[in-house]
Amino acid sequence: MKLTLKIWRQKDANDKGRFVTYQVDDVSPDMSFLEMLDVLNESLIHKGEDPVAFDHDCREGICGMCSLFINGKPHGPEQTTTCQLHMRSFKDGDTIVIEPWRAKPFPVVKDLVVDRSAFDRIIQAGGYISVNTGSAQDANNIPIPKDKASEAFDAATCIGCGACVAACKNASAMLFVAAKVSHLALLPQGDPERAIRVSKMVAQMDAEGFGACTNTGACEAECPKGISVKNIARLNREFLRAKFIEEVDKPLEELAEGK
């Protein structure tokens, strides 16, 4: 296959950035999208040019590191990660436009690489449980109904890629936060900190500058892990419960300081 690539190039966060057009020949339909970019980068290195920076790690669809807004969609035309997108999804002679995720809380670091540490800070705000888990317990020591376990597992499959933010017209992080809140809220281990968790994670999400949720559903349609918007409804429920029903929705030290 021969392809024309229009790729966003940007030296660093302060550079204005622009599209640069490249030709790649000898692309096999069996290559992954990232391998196709590897081929381009090899040829750029041979010519002594600066290779295109893009994020990747596991290349097997489990780490959430790869990104890219490809031909107007996060992770390209299929509902999968970019590392699992194959060139057979394109035709010989196609022009492919590649842009970084666009969101204020995801600033461009270089070319197609964006800084997604806003997600890490949301997790640090509450996406954990504050006890040591110890060694593995006997099965069924803590009874968890199958439907709850499955719901929690589905939510836990979120890989934090940020495609939901990239897809949303509001650059909202609700699907990601909802997945993380749901994952822990559904399990007995997460229950004690349920209210504090949702309060802090929503507050951090807002502080990072993500937009609000208009319930358009674009996130669910583009999420490579098929995280359902029902988690967003659960986040709303958890938030209202934390604020209007729970006795304590903040760590006790903060309440004592009157914050």
């Binding site: 666009r102 909202s172 929503v202 500058g209 937009g211 949720c213 358009t216 029902k230 409804a233 929705d249």
Partner: protein
């Protein structure tokens, strides 16, 4: 910040305000429509004028009407804050976007649809409500009692083509606004279950179509009848 202010100024809290006020406005448009359909009775406006008189003099209705104005304002102000924040969250737009099949057109254009409704509201209030409250309405007598003849004011307004067009366009916008808003408000309250999702979605769409048609036929029928 107090806990309630903190809650209601968060992104989720602001959406709860949208949904609460939106639901209230939905109740209002049902009551308002059932009253207005009396304009279509062929009785020279007698029943409609008596109804308008009752609505204008009932203290309960007066209180609810103040609430209604407050909630419209709250809905509009919150929508401006949200829409601004949402567009600021993506300062650099995509060069190519093929996201149109991932969500409905109405859901992506709630601010635009709301703005059309808002412009309509201003025209609408100036046409009828303002006149009703502050004069400019002729009087009519039924069984020896004087009533304001709002029916004639409405009839005359709807003889003007541009007003009829503004009304019809605005009601289409309202229908689209509700086609997403109705179901969205349930999600905002955390109500999402496969047992009733389909029902709410269907009800929302049926309701939006009924509201749009129900309101839009009034100016159209009056225009052609008189």
């Amino acid at each position: 910040m107090s806990w309630i202010a903190e809650t209601l100024t968060s992104s989720v809290g602001r959406k709860v305000i949208m949904a609460l006020t939106g639901f209230f406005l939905i109740l209002f448009i049902i009551v308002h429509l059932s009253g207005n359909l009396q304009l279509l009775l062929n009785d020279g406006g007698e029943q409609f004028n008596k109804y308008a008189h009752f609505m204008g003099h009932n203290p309960l209705i007066q209180t609810v009407s103040i609430l209604n104005f407050t909630f419209i304002l709250l809905h509009v102000i919150t929508s401006i804050i949200l829409t601004r924040r949402n567009s600021e969250a993506r300062p650099v737009k995509y060069h190519v976007s093929r996201m149109q099949n991932s969500s409905t057109w109405a859901s992506r254009n709630m601010g635009f649809l709301g703005s059309i409704i808002f412009i309509f509201l201003v025209v609408h209030l100036a046409n009828f409500w303002f006149k009703m409250k502050f004069g400019g309405v002729p009087m009519v007598e039924y069984d020896g009692v004087q009533y304001k003849d709002l029916f004639t004011v409405v009839k005359e307004a709807f003889q003007q083509e541009w007003i009829v067009i503004v009304y019809v366009v605005a009601m289409v916008a309202l229908g689209y606004h509700l086609s997403h808003g109705f179901m969205s408000a349930f999600r905002t309250f955390g109500l999402h279950h496969r047992k009733y999702n389909g029902f709410i979605k269907g009800l929302g769409i049926a309701f939006s179509i009924a509201v749009a048609i129900g309101y839009a036929i009034i100016p159209v029928i009056i225009y052609f009848r008189y």
